[in-house]
């Protein structure tokens, strides 16, 4: 810079009026060379065998600004490799140039300082505390941030060079954020997934689930041929045979028993097009039993809502909120990147108020919290509402008066109300747990009134990539003129035929016990799946469909952002995109309106041309009123989370994610006082029973849980014998 006596670092010099900067002056070039020489002094010259080769910032800089030879002849320092977990490899720490970006990421974005720089000077090295592991659900971003080959991707290591990979855009099929992905492909195989920067959605980050789930795409469990069960044996058949079998079977059941004996269950990880064609097929057959809300248990808000439940605000605006009320959400594990945005907001002074049944560390300051059993969540909301109505001197709507009248706000409910009332940009958000709750509509109604009183944004985090899209695709039983059965009713009143789209009933449903019984009793179960799974036990036909990387489609994220994507690789084996399979089935069954040339035509039919869906979104409940305590549980009640790496078929088969601490075999957790009452020791094996089924798990004392509950994860094979995610559960010594 002109008139400065020394060269100045660009990254740490504020720009000022009239500054004259020379980036290629003799002085600047000399300084750059000097810095490069220092950086390279201890850096090993192992680029040919380094995984970062070809995408290494240091390599690029060395080529651009470094000297051609080193003047350093002394010994280079050696830093020992570390094992910091199954996702991030820290095998060549001698390559580390101690920039500490990984440390900063942990502190500023991840919320926990898991890596740090220990020792000093020549001996400084990046490590986790006493050879601990990095367990953050965002840890993969450190790989992207590392400018050298010190932190690399363990699953991807040594499997391809960056210049051999083609880079194709896609959208995450997992959580409801709709992260933008760059899927990297070699020889028609997905080798790696990286983020595409989108400030409005995932910024430049990806959660580990989005980043490493691709391993599940290449799983050995992939279904590659249509299969039919005949005489108890599975036979691989041609598509034509399988589809004829399905269409004949469906036609026969519709004819003999009636179309209402056909039900369809799809996961919210299916695309908009798939869900739309599925409901069109089912309705074309004359049934209205179609649902994608598999883990929901309270459907009383159906058709009483102004639109599809959504986030109620733009994702980017989450950072600007100054008061949060989070109801029933395993925020960090269910929505890793949204949690990070809430964390950013708290750094700017936002207050987080939490009403939930567990007290997992959110890695951010929580202003007020009420950790109560599921049965009491509505009461706590009523208390907050009452306290808030006093502050705002507002009269309450008649729909909530009955429940609000008898309650007296506790000190923490009062504190929450004070906090919310003092905010300027308030958000009241309901999590997955609140949506799966047996009193979901009550919680929604109370939260809605709280939001109205404090002028807050009001919304749902949304469980999966297409939780909003499912409503738009009309894959709900109340979308048509005639109302059908919802996901829960279809199982309670067993149907004769079930069409499963991506669904593994024992893992994806609210009540796996009931679901398996219904599947077992059905005459015909058609499973459209990318994987050979437990359906082999109860299904009659398995149709191999393509996961998100092998099909085109659209996901509508929780903020109502419709994002379409194209297939990145060819479908594996004989697998086909599900929308094509459903189209052919529609044609074979002579249902009109199944002549689509491409998935875009389906999308346009659903969304009416554009991608703006805002007119179809709406969280406001009408003609629902809250009642006092209608739900009683005797004895202990179950609290279930769906662990982060158990949410959908793809992640459940992603090998490296399954080795993380988040994917360890679930234990039953219980408050130590309850444990004492049961006369059990922490660590003991117990028998947990719900309805007809029971499982054996070890039980661990966890005093952060409220009294009267047992926390048992859902979505896991080990707990699939159990019943609903909420309700009574019996614990006894095994």
């Amino acid at each position: 810079m002109k008139k400065a006596p020394k060269p100045l670092p660009a990254c740490a010099t504020p720009v000022a009026e009239g500054m004259k900067i020379f980036t290629a002056s003799e002085q600047a070039v000399k300084a750059q060379k000097g810095v490069m020489e220092f950086l390279l002094i201890n850096h090993p010259l192992d680029c040919p065998i380094c995984d970062q080769g070809g995408e290494c910032e240091l390599q690029d800089l060395a080529v651009g600004y470094g000297g051609s030879a080193s003047r350093y002849h002394e010994e280079k320092r050696v830093v020992l490799h570390k094992d910091i977990g199954p996702l991030v490899a820290a095998e060549e720490m001698s390559r580390c140039i101690n920039c500490t970006r990984c440390v900063r990421f942990g502190i500023e974005i991840g919320g926990a300082m898991e890596l740090g720089q220990a020792f000093r000077g020549e001996h400084a090295e990046i490590m986790a505390f006493v050879s601990d592991t990095v367990d953050s659900e965002l840890s993969g971003n450190m790989i992207d941030l590392c400018p050298v080959g010190a932190l690399t991707s363990k699953p991807f290591r040594y499997s391809a060079r960056t210049w051999e990979l083609s880079r194709r855009k896609s959208i995450s099929p997992h959580d409801s954020l709709g992260s933008n992905l760059a899927v990297q492909v070699k020889n028609n195989r997905v080798m790696r997934v990286l983020p595409i920067e989108n400030e409005d959605v995932n910024e430049c980050w990806l959660s580990d689930k989005d980043r490493f789930s691709y391993e599940g795409l290449n799983s050995a469990e992939r279904l590659t041929k249509p299969m039919i069960k005949q005489g108890g044996k599975w036979l691989e058949v041609e598509w034509q045979v399988a589809l004829e079998y399905v269409s004949n079977g469906l036609r026969q059941i519709a004819h003999e028993a009636g179309a209402e004996y056909i039900g369809a269950l799809a996961t919210p990880h299916s695309t908009l097009e798939e869900l739309y064609l599925l409901q069109k097929l089912v309705r074309g057959l004359g049934s209205h039993n179609v649902d994608f809300r598999l883990r929901q248990s309270d459907f009383s808000a159906d058709s009483k809502q102004t639109g599809a439940p959504w986030l109620g605000m733009a994702v980017a605006d989450v950072n600007l909120v100054d008061r949060f009320l989070l109801v029933g959400s395993f925020l960090r594990k269910d929505h890793p990147l949204l949690a990070s945005r809430v964390r950013q907001a708290t750094k700017k002074g936002a207050q987080v108020n939490l009403i939930h049944a567990t007290d997992d560390d959110l890695l951010m300051p929580i202003a007020n919290k009420e950790i109560v059993p599921p049965t009491e969540m509505a009461t706590v909301l009523a208390q907050v509402l009452k306290a808030l109505s006093t502050i705002k001197q507002a009269t309450l709507d008649t729909s909530v008066q009955q429940i609000v009248q008898p309650v007296t706000p506790t000190a923490s409910a009062q504190a929450m109300a004070d906090s919310l009332a003092s905010g300027e940009r308030v958000a009241v958000l309901l999590g997955n747990f609140a949506q799966q709750h047996p009193q979901a509509s009550q919680l929604q109604l109370l939260a809605q009134h709280i939001a109205t009183l404090c002028g807050a944004k009001f919304g749902f985090f949304g469980e999966a990539a297409n939780s909003v899209g499912g409503y738009l695709a009309q894959a709900v039983p109340f979308a048509g003129a005639e109302h059908g059965m919802n996901a829960s009713a279809m199982l309670a009143a067993q149907r004769k035929a079930y069409i499963l789209l991506n669904t593994e009933v024992e893992l994806d449903m609210q009540n796996p016990q009931q679901a398996l019984a219904a599947m077992g009793a059905a005459d015909m179960v058609v499973a459209l799946s990318a994987y050979k799974h437990h359906a082999m036990e109860y299904a009659d036909v398995l149709l191999p469909i393509a996961p998100f990387t092998e099909t085109s489609g659209t996901f509508v994220s929780s903020e109502g952002r419709a994002q379409s994507f194209k297939g990145t690789v060819q479908p594996l084996g004989d697998a086909r995109p599900a929308w094509k399979v459903l189209r052919v089935l529609g044609n074979m069954l002579n249902i009109p309106g199944f002549d689509y040339n491409n998935s875009e035509a389906v999308r346009d039919e659903v969304l009416g041309g554009g991608t703006d869906v805002s007119a179809k979104l709406g969280n406001v409940l009408h003609s629902v009123s809250a009642q006092t305590a209608t739900w009683n549980v005797t004895g202990l009640q179950r609290v279930s989370d769906v662990p982060i790496y158990a949410t959908d078929a793809i992640v459940r088969r992603a090998a490296s994610l399954q080795k993380t601490r988040d994917a360890t075999t679930p234990c039953a957790l219980i408050h130590s006082i309850e444990l004492e009452k049961l006369n059990l020791q922490s660590g003991e094996m117990v028998k947990l029973t719900q309805g007809q089924g029971s499982v054996r798990l070890s039980i661990i004392a966890d005093d952060s849980l409220p009294r009267g509950v047992v926390r048992v994860a859902a979505g896991h094979t080990i707990t699939a014998e159990l019943g609903a995610m909420f309700g009574t559960i019996r614990v006894e010594r095994a």
Partner: protein, 159 residues
């Protein structure tokens, strides 16, 4: 678990800083732990981290950065001999060798009876007294000669 005395000392230290800057007391907290038991193990760092509401790794960074923290047992009396330039010019290395021979231990080691530990240290800012050593990071003894070292060791041995 931090002892009651250590916690009381940390609490007093915390009054010097704003309530949302509790981690400012980390260096003092580690010092109190070391004063009490002679060294700091990883469990102590975890306890300090919990007490000050900071990350465990953050405490580890501090503890490993400063060389006056003992990360392993260093005997009842830790002798730290300054080996920086001013001391070296007037025979710090000879002083160090003499102590090594006398105690029969090397730098970073502890005598078999656990009484003495020996370390190399950095400048104590009293170069006019060189060569010098420090006892338990508290007491500086300068103008060292063989006789003076013998005398210091004998006195410490009696304690």
């Amino acid at each position: 678990m931090l002892s009651e005395q250590v916690r009381a000392k940390i609490d007093r230290e915390l009054k010097k800083y704003p309530p949302d800057r509790k981690q400012s007391a980390v260096m003092a907290a580690l010092r109190f732990v070391q004063d009490e038991k002679g060294w700091i193990d990883t469990g102590d760092m975890v306890d300090v981290a919990a007490y000050l509401g900071m990350s465990q790794m953050g405490v580890y960074e501090v503890a490993t950065f400063y060389n006056m923290y003992n990360l392993k047992p260093m005997g009842r009396h830790t002798l730290t001999v300054c080996t920086n330039l001013s001391c070296q010019l007037v025979g710090a290395m000879e002083t160090l060798d003499y102590i090594k021979n006398k105690l029969g231990i090397g730098v970073g080691e502890v005598t078999a009876d656990g009484k003495f530990g020996l370390r190399e240290g950095e400048c104590q800012n009293v170069c006019d007294e060189a060569p010098l050593l420090m006892i338990n990071n508290k007491k500086t003894c300068g103008h060292l000669t063989k006789e003076k070292i013998d005398q210091i060791l004998a006195e410490l041995d009696k304690e």
